[in-house]
């Protein structure tokens, strides 16, 4: 375990060494940002809408009491969405979508000697392959989380319109009342950390793949599993530290 941790830290250090030519790395960062951001927009939008709607209906069901104003359902759904559902569930889904892609892409490059080819040319392979992915993860995951929060709250509103468990006016009042900007800051900090975890762990697994197609698949699976565990651990730590 300590050997792996050491290799992971050394790989990160190599990844952020001075680039050979900034313009080439910049183009790579842009390409990765499009891949991570735009490529994940569809799945994030779908899950956010459904989770927002389901959360609102469930909270309304649990608050079915004449003593509790129904606007409370909006407040609880808002905080749950901002603090937990949007950053954490989005990150878990993204670990599966972009994490597996990063691990298998780099792993395939390793077993087909493409990484050796980079090194022979004098290119810092970890820097060229990994740093753009980490930068893209740390910038695009927060943007995706903002989209997810917006769509999650929209999903809650649509659920109110369709189910009638909470009136849309009560829901909107609940969403607005007692809003604390700290919750959004916590969500964004989580998103940045989760983006780093997904990209770096999966890149590490891919970079040290050896063998063939079977090992690439195993590296991809390991990358996703370790990322998910670390996301949940980081979620707990950040929540404890910031709230």
């Amino acid at each position: 375990m300590f050997t792996s941790l050491g290799r992971y830290i050394l790989l990160l250090r190599l990844s952020f060494r001075r680039p050979e030519k900034f313009s080439v790395y910049w183009a790579e960062i842009m390409r990765e940002m499009v891949s991570v951001g735009l490529g994940s927009l569809g799945i994030i939008s779908i899950i956010s809408l459904f989770i927002g709607a389901a959360t609102t209906i469930q909270v309304a069901f649990q608050l079915n009491s004449p003593l509790v104003p129904m606007s409370t359902a909006g407040s609880i759904a808002r905080d749950s969405t901002i603090l937990e559902f949007s950053p954490t569930i989005s990150a878990l889904v993204l670990a599966g979508r972009i994490g597996s892609s990063i691990a298998s892409q780099i792993g395939t490059m390793r077993v087909t000697e493409q990484i050796d080819a980079l090194e022979i040319m004098g290119v810092n392979a970890p820097g060229y392959l990994i740093s753009p992915k980490i930068i893209a993860g740390m910038t695009m995951v927060p943007l995706l989380v903002i989209v997810s929060i917006t769509l999650g709250l929209t999903g809650g509103y649509i659920a109110c319109l369709v189910s009638g468990d909470v009136t849309p006016a009560d829901y909107l009042m609940g969403v607005r009342d007692g809003f604390d900007g700290l919750t959004v800051r916590v969500a964004l900090v989580k998103a940045v950390v989760f983006g780093f975890i997904i990209a770096s762990i999966c890149a590490y697994q891919g970079f040290y793949t050896s063998g063939g197609a079977l090992e690439v698949g195993q590296a991809s699976t390991r990358g996703v599993v370790y990322s998910c565990v670390m996301i949940l651990f980081a979620d707990l730590v950040i929540t404890r530290l910031m709230l």
Binding site: E20, K21, V24, T108, M109, T112, E113, Q114, D116, A117, E119, I120, M121, G122, V123, N124
Partner: protein, 250 residues
């Protein structure tokens, strides 16, 4: 010229290379041959710096490559071209982008200059017009030739080739051998080729290094192979009936 001195390489308890020394001359095809597991690819990887030798030195034109760090190696590496066994072309890039990749990183050439250079390299390997194709759209022989085009794009002083003929038909193999040989002579490159293709050995092997169980077992030229009394080399080179018959006619 490249000189290797007393190269040892150990993986765990397995000593793969046992003190190999040799000189690879400029403008010549230097072939490293040997049976599977004899250590020839490991030796090649030690020379180019993909493996660090456990002991010994690799010297490129008087500069000790082994003792250099990553940054110090970069100026030498920009003079190295390598063709890998499976070509190792970047899948996500077109043929042209593959060839222009080292030029993008290590030169200040304009885009049109880089395109001209890519076109020149492709023409040199008889693949003009394939600029916009992706590696997945190429045959095995075409991939090898694009790999050679990429390797010569930076006008290398040293060319390393790992199993250039694996997976190719005999005719394409001869074309690739001839192409490597022509480039070596034309640009006065120090070329090191790892192979176990006997047609290559007899065709272009100006300087042949035979490895046996991780040791340098024999060194000479293709012309000398036919007359050597080295048993292991004879067993290896003349393993097939065809080669034995060819030897008998010599």
């Amino acid at each position: 010229m490249i000189e290797i001195q007393d190269i040892h390489k150990t993986f765990g308890e397995n000593e793969v290379l046992k003190g190999i020394s040799a000189k690879f001359q400029q403008g010549k095809n230097n072939l490293i041959i040997g049976s599977s597991g004899s250590g020839k690819t490991t030796l090649l990887k030690c020379i180019v710096g993909l493996h660090e030798p456990t002991k010994g030195d690799v010297i490129f034109a008087g500069e000790n490559f082994t003792h250099m760090n990553f940054e110090q190696r970069v100026p030498i590496r920009t003079h190295i071209g390598m063709l890998f066994q499976n070509s190792a072309l970047f899948d996500s890039m077109t043929v042209e982008e593959n060839i222009m990749f080292p030029l993008n990183l290590f030169t200040e050439m304009s885009k049109s200059e880089k395109q001209d250079r890519a076109n020149f390299c492709l023409k040199r390997v008889n693949l003009d017009g394939t600029n916009k194709l992706y590696p997945a759209e190429l045959s095995g022989g075409m991939k090898k030739r694009v790999g050679i085009a990429r390797a010569i794009s930076m006008q290398p002083k040293y060319l390393f080739v790992d199993e250039p003929n694996s997976g190719l038909d005999p005719l394409t193999s001869i074309l690739i051998d001839d192409l490597i040989s022509e480039l070596t002579e034309e640009y006065q490159i120090t070329t090191v080729i790892v192979t176990h293709d006997m047609n290559s050995v007899m065709g272009i092997g100006e300087h042949v290094l035979f490895l046996y169980n991780g040791e340098k077992w024999w060194e000479g030229s293709n012309k000398e192979i036919a007359h050597t009394d080295n048993k292991e080399l004879n067993d290896f080179v003349f393993a097939s009936k065809f080669m034995r018959a060819a030897k008998a006619k010599l």
